[in-house]
C-alpha cells in the first residue's frame, strides 16, 4: 500500500461507518429511544437516549471493524465445487447427512428430550419440509416464489375441511391435499409463465395474499377469521392417542400395553413429519437426476437456450410449480393435523418470507443447507427468549452475519446430477 492510500482508506472507512451510524440513529431513535410505561392506567412515553447512543456507537465501531477486516473473514463462494464433488471429496457432507438423520430418528428417545424439545424439533422439520418443497421452485427451477405459503394454506384447509366434512382420515386426506395444492400451483403457474425474477415475485406475492384473503372472507366455508377448530388428530394406523378411547376402539397405549402419556402423540407427530420430510428429500434427490430435474436447472440457467434445445418451457415451469406446491400441501396437512386448529393468521406473508429465508440462507438448491438454515431460524429465536424484547434484534443480526460471511448461503454447493467416472475421463 502506498503512503497516500492509507489516509484515503481511513477516510472512506470513517465515512462508511458514519453513514451506518447515522442510519442506526434514525432507526433507533423512535424504536429504542422511546418506550411506553403504564402508570396507573395511563400510557406514558419515556425516553432512554443512552441506549440509542450505545447502539449507534456499536454500529459505528462494527462498520469500522468490517472495513479493516473483510478479506480474512469473508469466505469465497465455492465456485469450483462441482469437480471437487465429482471426485468424491465430499464425504464429510455425506457423513453429516447420515449423522443428522440418525440424530433425528433417535431424538424422541434421548434422555434429554422433553415435550418442549420435541415440539421445537417438529417445527424445525415443518420448515425443513417447506424449505425442500420451495427449493424445487426457487433453488432448482429458479422461479422466485414469494407466495409459497398459499400452498401450505391450501394443504392445511384441504385436510381440515375433508376431515371435518367427510370424515376422511389423515392418510386419505394427504394425497388429496397434495393434489389440490398442486392444482393451485398449476393455476398460479399459467398466468405467470412469461414472467421472471422481480415480476414473478410480485405476482406470486399477490397470489399468496389472495388465498389468505379468500380464507378470511369465505366465512361459510372456511370459518373466516375464526378459522377451523376440532380438526381430527391423526391416529397411529387406526389407534388413537387418547386416554379413554371411544367404545369399540383401542388406544395406542392400550394396544402396546403402555402407560398413557401425551408424549406418545408428540413423538408420533414428530416421526410423521420426519418421514414426510425424508420422502420430500428422497424425491428431490431422485428427480434432480432425471430429465425433468435437469430441465429445471437448465431453465434456471438460461431459458432461451432451453427453447433452442427443444425443451418445452411451459411444461417445465408448470411441473416445477405443481410439484413444489404439492409438498407445500403435504406440509400444510401435517400442520393442520398437529395443531388441531387453523386460521388465516398462520398463513401470512411473513411465513412465505421465512420459508424463502430458509432456502436462501441454506444456499439455493442445497438440501443440507435447508436443514441447517431451518434449524437456525427456528432455534435462534427460541434461544433468544431470554433477551426478551431484543430477541428479534439478535435474530436480525444473525441473518446479517450470515449474509456477510456466506453471501451464497450456508452451503452454496451443487452436486452434479451426473458425473463422468474417472476411468472414462482418463481413457481419452
Amino acid at each position: 500500500m502506498t503512503e497516500a492510500a492509507v489516509p484515503t482508506r481511513i477516510a472512506s472507512a470513517m465515512k462508511e461507518a458514519g453513514l451506518a451510524a447515522f442510519v442506526a440513529l434514525v432507526l433507533a431513535m423512535p424504536m429504542v429511544g422511546l418506550y411506553t410505561v403504564d402508570e396507573g392506567g395511563v400510557l406514558v412515553v419515556r425516553t432512554r437516549f443512552d441506549w440509542v447512543l450505545i447502539g449507534v456507537l456499536v454500529v459505528f465501531a462494527g462498520r469500522l471493524a468490517m472495513a479493516y477486516w473483510p478479506a480474512t473473514l469473508r469466505i469465497p463462494a465455492r465456485r469450483d465445487a462441482a469437480h471437487v464433488a465429482a471426485d468424491g471429496h465430499f464425504n464429510i457432507l455425506k457423513f453429516l447427512g447420515i449423522a443428522a438423520i440418525s440424530l433425528a430418528v433417535l431424538l424422541p428417545v434421548l434422555p434429554v428430550t422433553d415435550r418442549y424439545v420435541i415440539d421445537v424439533a417438529t417445527t424445525v422439520l415443518i420448515y425443513v419440509m417447506l424449505g425442500w418443497g420451495l427449493n424445487i421452485v426457487v433453488g432448482l427451477a429458479g422461479l422466485l416464489d414469494l407466495g409459497y405459503v398459499a400452498f401450505y394454506a391450501v394443504g392445511a384447509y384441504s385436510f381440515a375441511l375433508l376431515a371435518r366434512n367427510f370424515g376422511l382420515n389423515f392418510w386419505e386426506c394427504l394425497p388429496l391435499a397434495g393434489a389440490l395444492a398442486a392444482l393451485c400451483g398449476i393455476l398460479l403457474g399459467f398466468p405467470v409463465l412469461r414472467l421472471r425474477g422481480d415480476y414473478l415475485a410480485i405476482v406470486t406475492l399477490g397470489f399468496g395474499e389472495m388465498i389468505r384473503i379468500v380464507l378470511i372472507n369465505w366465512q361459510s366455508f372456511t370459518g373466516g377469521p375464526n378459522g377451523l377448530t376440532s380438526i381430527p388428530r391423526p391416529s397411529f394406523f387406526g389407534l388413537p392417542f387418547t386416554r379413554n378411547p371411544e367404545e369399540g376402539e383401542t388406544a395406542f397405549h392400550q394396544f402396546f400395553g403402555l402407560e398413557f402419556a401425551p408424549y406418545h402423540r408428540l413423538a408420533f407427530l414428530y416421526y410423521l413429519i420426519l418421514a414426510l420430510a425424508l420422502v420430500t428429500n428422497a424425491f428431490t434427490m431422485r428427480i434432480r437426476r432425471l430429465p425433468i430435474g435437469r430441465a429445471w436447472e437448465a431453465l434456471r440457467e438460461d431459458e432461451i437456450a432451453c427453447r433452442a434445445l427443444g425443451i418445452n418451457p411451459t411444461n417445465t415451469k408448470l411441473t416445477a410449480f405443481a410439484i413444489g406446491a404439492m409438498f407445500g400441501g403435504f406440509a400444510g396437512s401435517f400442520f393442520a393435523a398437529r395443531q388441531g386448529f387453523i386460521s388465516p393468521e398462520s398463513f401470512t406473508f411473513i411465513e412465505s418470507a421465512m420459508i424463502l429465508a430458509v432456502v436462501v440462507l441454506g444456499g439455493m438448491g442445497s438440501q443440507i443447507g435447508v436443514v441447517l438454515a431451518a434449524t437456525l431460524l427456528v432455534v435462534l429465536p427460541e434461544l433468544g427468549r431470554e433477551f426478551a424484547e431484543f430477541r428479534m434484534v439478535l435474530f436480525g443480526a444473525a441473518m446479517i452475519a450470515i449474509m456477510i460471511w456466506r453471501p451464497h448461503g450456508l452451503l452454496a454447493r451443487r452436486d452434479p446430477s451426473i458425473v463422468l467416472p474417472p476411468a472414462r475421463r482418463g481413457a481419452a
Binding site: 471426485d87 432425471l290 430429465p291 435437469r294 437448465a298 433452442a308 434445445l309 427443444g310 458425473v419 463422468l420
Partner: protein
C-alpha cells in the same frame, strides 16, 4: 447437386417501421455449409431468429425438407422447431448453462429423448430399466462429442469455468447432441484467435462430412467463411445482394461495394489470417 434441405421464400421481418429482413429468398442444401454474410446490422441474426422460432416472420415461408416430410417452420412454436423439426442453433453471445457441468450441458440437450424414455418421469422414478439404458446411450453420445471437442478431461467441471474457445465448441457440441438435421451457427468464430479459427474450420467440415447435415453459418471471419462454405448468401440492409460460391461472391461488385463502400475498388472482403 445435393437435395435442398431448407427453402426460405420471400422472408420479411418488420419491427414497426424498420425492415430488418426484406423479401429474402435462398436455399440451403443437405451436407453443405451455407454462409450468410453481410455488414453489421444487415439482418443476419434476424434471419436465424425467424428460422428458430424466436421471431414470427411478418411475411414469408420457411420450408424444411425433413426426412419425415416438409415442415413449415414459420408456423411452429419456438421449442418445437428444435424438438420436432430438429433445427439446432448456437448464439452470438454464448448461451451455455454456466453453473451446470460440461457433461450436464450435453445431457440436457438430449432432454426430449430422455424424457420419453423416462415415461415422462413416472417410469424412471420407479427405476424402470428403459430409462437406465436411455441414460447410458445419452452418456455415450455425450462422450463421443466430448472427445471430438477435446473436453473429456473437463467433463465434470462447470461449463462457465471453461476458457472462451472451449465454451464456443461446447455450445456447438451441445447443439449437435440434439441430433439436428440443420445446424445454425451464429458467429462461431467470434473472439477466436487464428489458430482456434483454423481448428473450428476442421471441426465444422468434419461435422459436414460425417453427419451429412446442413449447416447454416453467420460469420464475419472471412478465413472461416471463404475456407469452408459451399454457398454464400450476402445480405445488406436486409436484402440479398449476392449469392453463389465463395469464388463468385468475392468478385461480385455489389458485395465489394457493401463492404468497402467504394465502387471502383478491386478489394475483396478483408481476408483475415
Amino acid at each position: 447437386m445435393k437435395p435442398v434441405l431448407l427453402e426460405v421464400e420471400h422472408l420479411t421481418m418488420r419491427f414497426g417501421g424498420l425492415i430488418a429482413v426484406d423479401d429474402l429468398s435462398f436455399a440451403a442444401r443437405q451436407g453443405e455449409i451455407t454462409a450468410i454474410i453481410g455488414p453489421n446490422g444487415a439482418g443476419k441474426t434476424t434471419v436465424f431468429n425467424c428460422l428458430t422460432g424466436f421471431y414470427k416472420p411478418t411475411v414469408g415461408r420457411l420450408t424444411l425438407h425433413h426426412p419425415a416430410g416438409p415442415l413449415l417452420l414459420e408456423q411452429m412454436e419456438g421449442f418445437r422447431i428444435a424438438a420436432r423439426a430438429r433445427v439446432a442453433r448456437t448464439f452470438q453471445n454464448i448461451r451455455l448453462f454456466p453453473r451446470m457441468t460440461v457433461l450436464e450441458n450435453l445431457i440436457v440437450a438430449q432432454h426430449n429423448v430422455l424424457m420419453r424414455a423416462s415415461g415422462f418421469t413416472l417410469g424412471a422414478l420407479f427405476g424402470l430399466p428403459r430409462y437406465r439404458h436411455a441414460e447410458q446411450d445419452a452418456l455415450e453420445r455425450s462422450c463421443l462429442w466430448l472427445e471430438r471437442i477435446g473436453l473429456v478431461t473437463r467433463a465434470n467441471d462447470e461449463a462457465g469455468s471453461l476458457p472462451y474457445g472451449d465454451q464456443r465448441r461446447l455450445e456447438i457440441a451441445r447443439a449437435m447432441c440434439t441430433d439436428p438435421v440443420l445446424l445454425c451457427l451464429d458467429e462461431p468464430a467470434a473472439g477466436l484467435n487464428p489458430r482456434e479459427s483454423a481448428e473450428l474450420n476442421q471441426f465444422l467440415t468434419g461435422i459436414r462430412e460425417r453427419e451429412k447435415i446442413g449447416i447454416l453459418l453467420i460469420e464475419h471471419d472471412m478465413s472461416v467463411v471463404m475456407g469452408i462454405s459451399d454457398h454464400i448468401v450476402v445480405l445488406d440492409y436486409g436484402k440479398r445482394i449476392a449469392s453463389g460460391s465463395p469464388g463468385t461472391v468475392r468478385r461480385d461488385p455489389a458485395v465489394i461495394r457493401a463492404y468497402l463502400g467504394e465502387p471502383e475498388s478491386d478489394a475483396v472482403p478483408a481476408e483475415r489470417t
